[in-house]
């Protein structure tokens, strides 16, 4: 595959979102030879996704704060000596560390004594009847549509779920000229109010909050706090969205009246889940921390995992939002420089102190936002027995429950028995629903466990992976006796 040896660096950073891009810039400043890899065409990650070249910002409008922050992040990175390579999908990691990526020219192999994983998150959607209908999309997916394609998800949109993406998506739709039929929020106003003291330390957010409020008032968006979508109905495509009041744990109240809304699109998301497949693959220890998004790699104050010289940063290390993500990225880079013997202890302390101070100021808000997006275990009760839970393998809740009833104790055992999680989504779409259902029966998410990480981290193209080769050069393994 790679006849010459791997290209070597001091530190490899995976993911060029706010966490990874800041880390690479900081590592370069600390004198490390650093490589930054991302599958996207540019740095910025999910939040600071650049506008595609064909879209220029609309006439007479100043770019929003996210676009400005993203441009600053990219400028700092470009001004540094960090080697950034885009359109590289990392598909496998080996201890020590080897990084295997698939790029425009095929498989690439890199090596470094230190590795920082800043791979971000994926969205949690707990299944409900009708969630697989066309017209139902994730909230996070909707931000991508709005940002990089400037496309509205529909004309009459219900926005539902949890956390700040609700506001971002609703505001984006209104800005694009769409109609938001309802904003259906799992949280109560009191829960949002808990953000206020923490937000006091983040004046950068006031403008955004004020902007959303104004947009909501202008667009007359009906708000349904402490409500959940209990069903989406067709035929063929979303036509009606049924919502009902819920308790604090997300479970619909027993006597709850169901309200039916007419809509042609439903954007729904129940929070973000840290992407841990890379740290799992490398054997790092993980902990279940619902308030930080779920399973995360155990880390110390400098973002070191339980595996030597393996670091995590950003929302993949526990949900905290973009600003803390960038700060934790910088801290992890400094820790790596110190652990590699490239930064003296005193120098490390001097550089880390201001980053830590700023992190402390932003941490409370990050934690409050993460709590808003935490899994509500009662939500899975809206899954009826015949609702599809695993879309890739066509498995209903009943089939999952039967396997649990027969004695599947742990999520990988359930996977072998039912094929749940074996499809191309690799368990990202169904994992949280299945684990919620199982935890309700076996006692805890810890008992349910995590999917065993198996390469590739995302499906990879057979042709690209195998590239050009000749039969004579296949590295046949030694055989056992016939």
């Amino acid at each position: 595959m790679t006849a010459p040896g791997p290209e070597r660096f001091d530190l490899i950073v995976i993911g060029a979102g706010p966490a990874g891009a800041s880390a690479a810039t900081e590592a370069d400043r600390a004198g490390l030879r650093v490589l930054l890899l991302d599958e996207q065409p540019a740095a910025g990650g999910q939040i600071y996704r650049p506008l595609p070249a064909e879209f220029s910002p609309r006439e007479g409008r100043a770019p929003g704060p996210d676009l400005r922050a993203g441009a600053a992040l990219r400028a700092a990175l470009a001004g540094s000596g960090a080697e950034a390579r885009f359109r590289r999908r990392v598909w496998h990691l080996a201890r020590g560390f080897s990084v295997f990526a698939l790029g425009p020219d095929g498989v690439e192999r890199y090596a470094a004594p230190a590795l920082l994983v800043a791979a971000g998150t994926h969205e949690r959607v707990i299944a409900f009847p009708g969630w697989t209908l066309p017209g139902v999309i994730g909230l996070a997916g909707a931000t991508v549509l709005l940002k990089s394609q400037q496309v509205l998800p529909g004309e009459r949109v219900v926005v539902a779920g949890a956390g700040p993406l609700l506001g971002a998506v609703a505001a984006g739709i209104l800005k694009g000229g769409g109609r938001v039929v309802a904003c259906v929020d799992l949280a109560s106003p009191a829960e949002w109010m808990r953000l206020a003291p923490a937000a006091g330390l983040r004046p950068d957010l006031w403008g955004q909050a004020a902007g959303w409020t104004a947009a909501f008032l202008r667009g007359r968006v009906p708000l349904y706090p402490r409500h959940a979508v209990v069903e989406a109905r067709g035929p063929g495509r979303v036509a009606e969205v049924c919502i009902a009041p819920v308790g604090g744990d997300g479970a619909p109240r027993a006597d709850a009246p169901v309200r039916v809304l007419r809509a042609d699109s439903l954007c729904v998301g129940h929070g973000l889940v840290p992407a841990t497949e890379m740290t799992r693959a490398l054997g790092a220890e993980h902990l279940y921390r619902p308030d930080e998004g779920g399973w995360i790699a155990r880390r110390d104050a400098c973002l070191r995992t339980s595996v030597e010289r393996l670091y995590v940063a950003g929302d993949g290390a526990g949900i905290a939002g973009a600003v803390p993500a960038a700060l934790r990225g910088r801290l992890a880079a400094l820790a790596a420089a110190r652990d590699l013997g490239r930064l003296a202890e005193a120098e490390f302390a001097r550089k880390a102190a201001p980053v830590r101070r700023r992190l402390a100021r932003t941490a409370a808000f990050g934690a409050a936002v993460a709590r808003l997006m935490a899994l509500r275990p009662g939500l899975a009760r809206t899954v009826s027995r015949d609702t599809l839970v695993c879309r890739c393998e066509d498995l209903t809740r009943a089939e999952i429950e039967d396997a649990i009833g027969e004695g599947a104790r742990e999520i990988n055992q359930l996977k072998s028995w039912t094929r749940c999680g074996m499809g191309p989504c690799q368990g990202r779409m169904c994992g949280e629903t299945v684990a919620s259902l199982m935890a309700a029966r076996v006692g805890s998410r810890e008992a349910v466990g995590q999917w065993t990480a198996r390469p590739p981290f995302r499906p990879v193209d057979f042709e690209a992976l195998t590239g050009d080769f000749t039969y004579d050069h296949l590295p046949f393994p030694p055989t056992a006796p016939a």
Binding site: S98, S416, W417, G423, F462, Y471
Partner: protein, 371 residues
């Protein structure tokens, strides 16, 4: 605590099949498994049930093992997706063709049920193969496969139905013998049994040490990969003259790719890890044989441990020096033969004459040999 008639340590195919036959034979049996039944090699293997890739010395056992897989759905009550699809072994060079001719002549004589075919015939049977690259092939209409990931489910259901006790999540950490019974410590609990069957797969060495026996048990780390669902491309199990490839497409369209390419890992330290270079090598060979695979995507790959002793022959029978203790393991291609090997050992334990000879496990017993 009433004693079980037998405790089987390790719930792979070897332990599960032994336990099931003991339970069917009227014994009170406990299966004690570290993780889950079928969580080791028996649940992650490639599921190939082909006689073309079996050693001549083991052919009669493989034939009987394959027969048992054919009736598993009926016997165990779980569909293991047993499919008779035929199997084809390919040689791409003259040297490989020569090796194929010699090996296959012996195996055909031993009952593998295959015949040699030309490249043209191979292309007729499976048009998706790169016919122009094939020099020679062998074919058997009898070859089959099954889905190994449901091994644990199948045996668990049958064991429970037969009244056996199944303890999962229970790693055995100590075995003591007193007053004609074994006391087994597993996952904080104790199990007492009059007979002991060690069936720990690649972890057998550790279990043997618990009864004071040292054996030269080694392991290989075999890799497998699978594609997403793709359009139907082929039916037969496709293999390679030197054993480096197994290809099969399931009813759901996924293609499973194996062939004994090696990964990394140490059973004592945890699960096996995939070696990227070897994964790519395995996939290249697959694509060389079947170019249309290039249009699919790989969704998953993994590695599992397969144990062996220096002569690559099984260890099955009573352990010398420890009364009422038995071992079963180190069977190469053991998924195919497991159901039958377990039946043979159970026959011996139940006091019957096994249908075929067992495999003296004491031939490598280093500690006892030295004593």
């Amino acid at each position: 605590m009433t004693a079980f008639d037998a405790a089987v340590l390790g719930g792979g195919i070897m332990g599960s099949a032994t336990a099931l036959n003991l339970a069917w034979g009227g014994m009170r049996v406990a299966v004690i498994e570290k993780r889950a039944l079928g969580s080791g090699a028996s649940g992650v293997n490639a599921g190939t049930l082909s006689l073309q890739i079996k050693r001549v010395a083991l052919m009669p056992y493989a034939i009987r093992g394959k027969e048992l897989w054919a009736t598993t759905a009926k016997r165990l009550g779980v569909d293991v997706h047993y499919r008779v699809v035929g199997g084809m072994t390919l040689a791409f060079t003259e040297a490989e063709a020569e090796a194929l001719r010699t090996r296959m002549a012996e195996r055909i004589a031993a009952g593998a049920g295959a015949e040699m075919i030309t490249a043209a015939r191979a292309g007729e049977i499976e048009p998706a193969l790169a016919g122009e690259r094939i020099v020679l092939a062998s074919y058997s209409p009898l070859d089959a496969y099954a889905n190994s990931s449901v091994t644990g489910l199948a045996y668990r259901r049958a064991l429970v139905a037969a009244g056996a006790e199944v303890r999962e999540g229970a790693p055995v950490t100590a075995i003591d013998r007193a007053e004609g019974a074994f006391t087994i410590t597993a996952g904080g609990e104790r199990v007492v049994a009059r007979r002991l069957v060690l069936a720990g797969g690649a972890w057998l060495k550790g279990l043997l040490r618990m009864v004071g026996i040292e054996m030269p048990i080694h392991y290989r780390v075999n890799q497998v990969a699978v594609t997403e669902r793709t359009r139907p491309l082929f039916k037969a199990v496709i293999m390679h003259a030197l054993g480096f490839l197994t290809l099969k497409q399931s009813d759901n369209g996924t293609v499973l790719i194996g062939g004994g390419w090696q990964g990394f890992g140490d059973p004592e330290a945890g699960g096996g890890e995939v070696d990227a270079e070897n994964l790519v090598g395995n996939l290249r060979l697959a694509r060389y044989a079947m170019p249309a695979l290039a249009g699919s995507r790989i969704v998953r790959s993994w590695a599992g441990y397969e144990a062996h002793v220096p002569d690559f022959m099984p260890l099955i029978g009573p352990l010398a020096g420890v009364d009422d203790a038995y071992v079963i393991g180190c069977v190469r291609g053991g998924y195919t033969q497991g159901p039958y090997m377990g039946q043979l050992l159970a026959e011996l334990i139940l006091g019957r004459e096994p249908e075929m000879p067992l495999f003296n496990p004491n031939r490598f017993n280093e500690a006892r040999a030295a004593a």
